[in-house]
Symmetry: D2
Subunit: 139 residues, 4 copies
Amino acid sequence: MAASESSAPTDPLAVDMPLRVRYVECDRMGVAHHSHYPVWFEMGRTELLRSLGMTYRQCEDAGIFFVVTYLEIRFRAPAHYDDELLLRTTQRRMTRVRIDHDYRLTREGIVLCEAHSTIGCVDRSGRVSPIPSPLRPAD
Amino acid sequence: MAASESSAPTDPLAVDMPLRVRYVECDRMGVAHHSHYPVWFEMGRTELLRSLGMTYRQCEDAGIFFVVTYLEIRFRAPAHYDDELLLRTTQRRMTRVRIDHDYRLTREGIVLCEAHSTIGCVDRSGRVSPIPSPLRPAD
Amino acid sequence: MAASESSAPTDPLAVDMPLRVRYVECDRMGVAHHSHYPVWFEMGRTELLRSLGMTYRQCEDAGIFFVVTYLEIRFRAPAHYDDELLLRTTQRRMTRVRIDHDYRLTREGIVLCEAHSTIGCVDRSGRVSPIPSPLRPAD
Amino acid sequence: MAASESSAPTDPLAVDMPLRVRYVECDRMGVAHHSHYPVWFEMGRTELLRSLGMTYRQCEDAGIFFVVTYLEIRFRAPAHYDDELLLRTTQRRMTRVRIDHDYRLTREGIVLCEAHSTIGCVDRSGRVSPIPSPLRPAD
């Protein structure tokens, strides 16, 4: 199993999530295919939300959806099959309708990848929608 | 393109769909990972339905869903990256609530894989539901 | 995170692996797409091997590969996004060149899926090859 | 089939590839999950290379590998299940060891997504390596 528990670094808006590279995630070169990194980032956002006492499933059940509108990834070194990695996900900025996250993926302290994303809040019909107050810091 | 090239064999309830193995579908051994075959079978069912004048998207929009309840696959020989394959999907049997399909995947006539599946018709809430008449042969 | 540690049931040739359904694994119906189950089964085999003191990565590094030659899955009930599931993987039978496994996927004791697979041992060139003795029970 | 339909725009270093959104590529929101776009871009690069008379498979067989080192994606509008999309892949710049590509994904002329990537040439061991001359324009 991908392992133990997600843990919170000192920053309350960051979370460290361990993950183990799956066989199916590796390609002919024997390294994790780059298309799986966005999946791991999504898992990081989910765990960050969970660490704040909510689940993304509850959000969607309540008609609150987040869609990825921007993604930028710098791949620095490959990850291999069965590697144990650590993904730090940090919420960098929140506006009325969007959230920016930073990601840093490491293996034993070595940075394999750095990334940034923007997610936007939409309603069930896909229209831009204000992020509900339980998810927003006090003004 | 899944669609463009699909052709109907003599059996009206069968369809041949060409497909090319994607890079991301191959694993460390350099062959198509077995978890992608069910995806190709699903595409085969979609094209079979299209050849009958319907789309599965229309079905779901109308509240008719099909869920896979059984799947059996025999892998005979590996498929490699960029291989051009041919998938024959045949509807073998339809009851009031389920459909059985056969699949045969070949590369230049050589059989790589044979499979069978059962899909069941359910409504939006997931309850077993009769297959609507436009999808059923005349009684 | 998918959670805690894999644990060994009383059967030494079985292992229980917890897993959490990823967002990307769910489809338009909101349930885990059936093509991801074979991925989970593969993870189960990996953890079973690990519980026996080996890793599949070591096997491949030593030129020992296992390919799936048969797979049979019965889907009994859907798994949903963020569900915590338990997969029990059991080694049922080993011959000189192949291993049969059983799988049972549950959520809070309810069986969602049962499956069987056969994997065959091959060398780097894909030829059938005897399973090396460290992996085989004493005769 | 990814291949069959690809057509060359007036720019010799661009290629248009049609693609149909697969069921498995769509998520709970009913739209194509963002992690599949990098897969489509990779297919676009493959078809661009093919339009130039080579295949990426030949490259890898000859010990020439390309790894993605940078990826930036702007998602403008969602793609839905069974949508027929058109991906234009353009080679924007080539240095001695890397190639920059642009991507534009459209549905009936409407831009759904724009992206950029950098791929670097490496040898079998993963070391940066000059792009072989058959792939490079005349000096």
